[in-house]
């Protein structure tokens, strides 16, 4: 089993140390560094190349959203960002997802939830907390959808019919295995579809794919 290398970025020492203890207690995880703000996080990612960054949204100086944007815009990184928030799943969390975060977590999550979130984000084959994520994106994509999204729609035209179908299912929060069962194909086939979708759309993971699907109107937020 490969170890997931984690970097923790939070301005509060207690939070950093706490998460470090909790994650190091997991056999498949290792906390490789702690950053005190966004700028520090960017520098340490470059140096340590972690798999996952736990990123606090609110930090002095370069905040979590800005740091996430800069980290995921860099073409050569594969680092996944898991955003931490004290508050509710609000516009800021959605902004972090748009900026490239792969998932989010409330700071008071239990140790199990924390470890699970890191694993899911590192593996990248499912949405983290699919129902909540779906709802969050559904709710806030309407707020931001006012911005013109012409180029995005154009890119959606490059997808094949099957790929569009898979994208819709991703946006609904289904995992690869669930999509395979729904479409009656092998899971490997689904994985191939997902990779092609991400490549064609220039997206880095399925969370971004879900955001894309909602913002282009491919998926309409249902009543919840």
């Amino acid at each position: 089993m490969t170890t997931i290398r984690v970097l923790i970025a939070d301005d509060q020492m207690m939070v950093r140390q706490g998460f470090t203890v909790l994650l190091n207690a997991e056999p498949d995880m290792e906390v490789v560094g702690q950053a005190v703000d966004g700028a520090d996080a960017i520098a340490q990612v470059a140096e340590l190349a972690p798999d996952v960054v736990l990123m606090d949204i609110r930090m002095p100086g370069v905040g979590g959203i800005e740091a996430t944007r800069r980290l995921t815009e860099a073409a050569d990184t594969t680092v996944k960002i898991l955003v931490l928030t004290t508050f509710d799943l609000d516009e800021y969390v959605y902004e972090a997802l748009r900026a490239g975060a792969s998932g989010f977590l409330l700071k008071d999550a239990s140790a199990d939830e924390l470890a699970h979130a890191v694993r899911v984000v590192a593996a990248g084959d499912a949405l983290l907390a699919p129902n909540i994520t779906k709802r969050l994106i559904g709710e806030f994509s309407r707020v931001t959808a006012a911005a013109p999204r012409g180029p995005l729609r154009a890119r959606a035209g490059d997808l094949t019919e099957r790929e569009t179908e898979v994208l819709t299912l991703i946006a609904q929060g289904l995992s690869n295995a669930e999509i395979a069962a729904r479409l009656v194909v092998a899971e490997q086939t689904v994985k191939t579809h997902v990779s092609r979708i991400l490549f064609k759309l220039g997206l880095r993971d399925r969370t971004q794919a879900a955001v894309f699907a909602y913002e282009t109107g491919l998926v309409r937020p249902s009543a919840f």
């Binding site: 207690m14 905040g63 509710d88």
Partner: protein
């Protein structure tokens, strides 16, 4: 009343008949109500002093007195005219009446309605008294002096009372005139036309001036009300903002507690079940408290909270004072900072409030004192913190800004919330200062802080 149901024509006729029946009844009622209305309107001795004029002060009051004396003299002179050439009049009983009339004008300055009664009564009595002795060329029932005096009384009345009452007084006066003229025992020069013109003019002019004054007063009242409303709303918004920030700080602490409670068992070797249970209880409580806090924050969160983007950054503490001062310096203002006493971490609420007060005060300096130098002083005392922000005289007048006063309100609220005080005001040298004294609930043990001589707090 015959009423045929279902027949429209019948119903209309019915209604018409009803209308016709009610008409005379209402008129009758109205007529019967007249004495009541008059008694209610005019039977009063209430004080209603003529207000001091904004521009003229008491000058009009003085003129009224002078006018009354002159007109009384004129009136007297007219009565002195011998009724028949070669004879002379005995003025004695008349003098009293004329003086009373002049006094009525004085009385009208404070009690217009009783003054009108007095004046009218005098008009009636004098007219009846002089009927047989004034020369034929003198106006009857009232001579010029009397007309002038009563005109003054009516004008002063109309300035103060509702137009309806003034009109009633006018009509009653003219009624008295008609009656006395009718009772005259010998021919006179008719002065009723002059009376009608003069009195009516007085009432119309007075009522118009009063109407204008009332409208202006209402407008001022309305404006005051609006300003009050605005101030109250601003206060509530400020409180809302403060509450939001404080809940925010508390929520952060709660989430750290929830994390620490989870971490603690990992730090002990072989933690006992009791310890685990206890820590789980702490965590459970913290998580529940957080859930409640999130709900409260959801209520407190307003549209502007999202707009200000503050939630990207943690709530500020005094550690970020230098950053703040640096930002303000960047706008071209000279700021000196001065910290006295041992700098230490204060309760988060105090740190946050102190930071916001400095921020607000500096933003006021930028807005209201262009070109002034500012000075920020923090005094760490044993039982609290003093914050002083003072600026020198601005070198040019400040542009008007609509948000004036808003900042002071917020600063005051923040200080009051901590049990502290905020004083603001101009300094002797033409600047402005803001001083906040913020107590900390937990005084630092004296051993921990080096005592300084000027630290008696």
């Amino acid at each position: 009343m015959s009423r045929v149901k279902g027949m429209t024509g019948g119903r209309i006729a019915d209604r018409l008949a009803g209308g016709l029946r009610t008409l005379p009844r209402t008129l009758g009622e109205a007529l019967r109500a007249v004495p009541g209305i008059l008694r209610e309107d005019l039977w009063t001795v209430a004080r209603d002093p003529l207000p001091r004029m904004r521009w003229l002060g008491r000058l009009p009051h003085g003129h009224v007195v002078l006018f009354a004396v002159l007109m009384a003299w004129l009136s007297m002179a007219q009565f002195q005219e011998p009724a028949r050439p070669g004879t002379s009049q005995d003025p004695v009983p008349l003098i009293g009446l004329v003086v009373l009339e002049a006094l009525a004008v004085q009385l009208a300055l404070t009690r217009p309605i009783p003054a009108w009664w007095l004046s009218t009564a005098m008009l009636l009595v004098t007219a009846l008294g002089v009927d047989d002795r004034v020369p034929a060329y003198v106006l009857y029932p009232w001579n010029y002096g009397q007309l002038a005096l009563h005109t003054a009384v009516l004008l002063l009345l109309a300035l103060r009372v509702r137009p309806r009452i003034a009109a009633e007084a006018l009509l009653l006066t003219l009624l008295v005139g008609v009656v006395t003229a009718a009772l005259a025992t010998r021919p006179h020069t008719d002065g009723l036309d002059e009376a009608v013109v003069s009195f009516t003019t007085a009432v119309v002019v007075g009522a118009a001036l009063r109407g204008r004054r009332v409208a202006r007063t209402r407008l001022v009242e309305q404006e005051e009300l609006t300003a009050e409303e605005r101030a109250r709303r601003t206060l509530l918004e400020e409180r809302n903002r403060i509450a939001r920030e404080l809940h925010d700080v508390v929520a952060h602490h709660m989430s750290v507690i929830s994390i620490q409670a989870q971490v603690a068992p990992h730090l002990a070797e072989n933690p006992s079940d009791e310890l685990r249970e206890n820590l789980a209880g702490i965590r459970q409580n913290a998580v529940e408290a957080l859930a409640e806090l999130r709900r409260v924050l959801g209520v407190l969160r307003s549209e502007d909270a999202l707009a200000d983007g503050a939630r990207h950054a943690p709530q500020p503490t005094l550690d970020r004072l230098d950053e703040l001062v640096g930002t303000v310096r960047g706008t071209g203002i000279t700021i000196l900072t001065d910290v006295t006493g041992e700098r230490r971490a204060l309760p988060p609420g105090v740190e946050l409030s102190a930071f916001r007060i400095v921020q607000e005060a500096l933003s006021n300096v930028m807005r209201h004192a262009p070109g002034a130098e500012a000075r920020v002083e923090l005094g760490y005392r044993r039982h609290g913190l003093t914050v002083r922000v003072v600026n020198t005289t601005p070198d040019r007048p400040a542009p008007p800004s609509p948000g004036a006063g808003h900042g002071l309100l917020g600063m005051r609220e923040r200080a009051a919330m901590l049990g502290g005080e905020l004083t603001t005001g101009p300094t002797p040298d033409g600047g402005y200062e803001v001083i906040a004294v913020l107590p900390t609930d937990h005084p630092v043990p004296s051993a921990a802080v080096p005592e300084t001589a000027e630290d008696p707090v």
